[in-house]
C-alpha cells in the first residue's frame, strides 16, 4: 500500500522535475529578472502538508538534490532548501487533520513554505556577493515566491476540489 503510493509520488516527481528543467524554466522564465516558477516545490509542500514532516523533508531533499545535479552548480543547496520547506509544510499537517470542512488555506501554506525555502537558498547562494539582504529579498526571494504562489493558486484550487482526506 505504502510502496505503491511512494512509487506514485516518485513518478510524479520525475515528471515534474523534467517539466521544470526542460520546459518551465525555459518557457515561463521572465527575462532579465531570473524568475522562474517552481512546480517541484509545490509537490514537496503538498506531500509535507498531507503526509507530514518526514515525507515532506525526505522528498524535498531528494527532489532538490536531483535539481542541484541538473543545474550544474552548487550541489546540496536546493536539497537543503526543499528539505526545510517540506519540514515546515509538515507543521500544517496537524491542522489539516483537525479541519472539519474542506476550506483550506493551502495557498497561504504554499507562500510560507516557498518563502522559507527561497530565503535559505538565496541567502546562502549570494554569500560573498555585493548584494545586500533587502535587495536579495526583493529581487529574488519575494519575486520567486510570488511567481511560484501564482502557480500554487491553481494547485490549491485543484486541491480544494479534491477530497483531500483521501490523501491522508
Amino acid at each position: 500500500m505504502y510502496l505503491t503510493s511512494y512509487l506514485k509520488y516518485a513518478a510524479i516527481f520525475i515528471v515534474l522535475i523534467i517539466v521544470q528543467v526542460s520546459f518551465i524554466g525555459y518557457i515561463l522564465s521572465i527575462p532579465n529578472y531570473n524568475i522562474t516558477p517552481d512546480i517541484v516545490i509545490l509537490f514537496v509542500i503538498f506531500l509535507g502538508y498531507t503526509r507530514g514532516h518526514i515525507t515532506g523533508m525526505i522528498s524535498g531533499f531528494i527532489a532538490g538534490l536531483i535539481l542541484d545535479i541538473l543545474s550544474g552548480s552548487f550541489i546540496g543547496l536546493l536539497a537543503l532548501s526543499y528539505c526545510v520547506s517540506g519540514f515546515v509544510a509538515g507543521y500544517f499537517n496537524t491542522q489539516l487533520k483537525e479541519m472539519s470542512s474542506k476550506k483550506s488555506s493551502f495557498i497561504g501554506i504554499i507562500f510560507v513554505c516557498t518563502l522559507v525555502a527561497y530565503t535559505i537558498f538565496y541567502v546562502l547562494y549570494f554569500q560573498g556577493s555585493s548584494m545586500n539582504l533587502p535587495d536579495i529579498f526583493l529581487k529574488h526571494i519575494l519575486t520567486t515566491t510570488l511567481y511560484t504562489s501564482v502557480f500554487g493558486l491553481v494547485f490549491a484550487l485543484l486541491f480544494n476540489r479534491f477530497n483531500f482526506k483521501k490523501t491522508l
Binding site: V21, N34, L70, S73, I75, G76, A79, D135, K139, H140
Partner: protein, 275 residues
C-alpha cells in the same frame, strides 16, 4: 533504555531533519569530486535528450522582445548582406589570384543551444555537442562577439555551459586600453561587476574588458564586455559595472573553444595555496 528509545522516536522528525541538513552542507562544501561529475554526466545526457524536443517551443515572455530584436537585426543584416555580396566576389577574385585553399577552423566546435535554463539565478545553456564531439569540462564557450561562458558538465551528446550571468562563474579580466586587472562576477541583480578596483585606476565608460592571461580557464584576449559605469566601494576601491558584448537574448549558436586549462599550473598554484 526504553525511555531513551521512546524519546528518540518522539523527536525522530528533528533527528532526520538534522541529518539531512548536515548531508546538504557536506554536499555544498565538497562539490567538484568525480562521483558528482559522473552523476551530472548521466543527468545531462538524460535531460538533454528531452530538452532537444522542447527547444522548438518559444518563451512566451521573450517572443515580443525577440521580435523587436529580430526586426532591428533584419534591417542591419540586409544592409550587411549587400556589402557582403560585394566582399564575397572580391574575396573569390583575390583567392583565385593568391591560389589559397579554404581554411578549416579546427580550434572550435560549433554548437546549437537547445535549452536555456534559469534555475534560481544559476543561468546555464545546454548545447547539442558532447564528449563524442571532443567537448570537455572547462572549455570556454564564445561567439564572434565575445565570451559566453564555460562548459561545466558533459555527456555523450550534450553539454551544459555556465554563462556570464551565473554566480558560480568568476573570470579574470583586464582592460584592453588601461590594462587594469580584476575579477568579473555576476552580482545576482542583473549586473556583471568587477569589485575592488583601485580608485586611481584609469577606467572609462566604453572601455572594453578582455580575458586576462592570469585566467586559469580562458585564453587571454577574448572580449568580455564594455564598461557601463563606475561606483564607489570605499575610500580606496571602486566597482565597475560591465555590459557583456554577447547578447544572450537572441543567442542560438555558439562556439566551444578547444582550449583546456594548463593543469600543471593550476595544480601548482592550488597546492601552494594549501600549504
Amino acid at each position: 533504555m526504553k525511555t531513551i528509545g521512546l524519546f528518540l522516536i518522539q523527536i525522530r522528525e528533528y533527528l532526520i531533519l538534522s541529518l539531512l541538513v548536515v548531508i546538504s552542507f557536506i554536499l555544498i562544501v565538497s562539490n567538484d569530486n568525480t562521483q558528482v561529475r559522473y552523476l551530472r554526466a548521466v543527468a545531462v545526457g538524460f535531460v538533454g535528450a528531452i530538452q532537444s524536443g522542447f527547444s522548438a517551443v518559444p518563451n512566451v515572455f521573450e517572443i515580443q522582445k525577440e521580435n523587436e530584436f529580430l526586426r532591428e537585426k533584419n534591417i542591419e543584416m540586409s544592409n550587411e548582406v549587400s556589402a557582403l555580396k560585394e566582399a564575397k566576389l572580391e574575396n573569390l577574385r583575390l583567392r583565385k589570384i593568391l591560389n589559397l585553399k579554404e581554411k578549416n577552423i579546427s580550434g572550435v566546435i560549433i554548437a546549437k543551444i537547445i535549452n536555456k535554463s534559469l534555475i534560481q539565478a544559476r543561468n546555464t545553456i545546454t548545447l547539442n555537442v558532447g564528449e563524442t564531439d571532443s567537448v570537455k569540462i572547462n572549455m570556454p564557450v564564445i561567439t564572434d562577439d565575445g565570451l559566453v561562458g564555460r562548459i561545466v558538465s558533459t555527456s555523450k551528446n550534450y553539454s551544459i555551459a555556465q554563462i556570464l550571468y551565473n554566480r558560480s562563474l568568476s573570470i579574470t579580466v583586464k582592460g584592453q586600453r588601461s590594462r587594469v586587472d580584476g575579477i568579473l562576477n555576476f552580482d545576482g541583480s542583473g549586473n556583471l561587476v568587477i569589485n575592488n578596483v583601485p580608485k586611481s585606476a584609469d577606467v572609462k565608460a566604453g572601455d572594453i574588458f578582455i580575458t586576462s592571461e592570469y585566467s586559469n580557464f580562458f585564453p587571454a584576449g577574448i572580449p568580455v564586455g564594455t564598461v557601463v559605469e563606475e561606483g564607489n566601494l570605499d575610500n580606496l576601491f571602486k566597482k565597475i559595472i560591465i555590459r557583456p558584448l554577447v547578447s544572450f537574448t537572441g543567442l542560438e549558436e555558439v562556439f566551444v573553444l578547444r582550449h583546456l586549462p594548463e593543469m600543471e599550473k593550476v595544480d601548482l598554484e592550488s597546492s601552494y595555496l594549501k600549504k
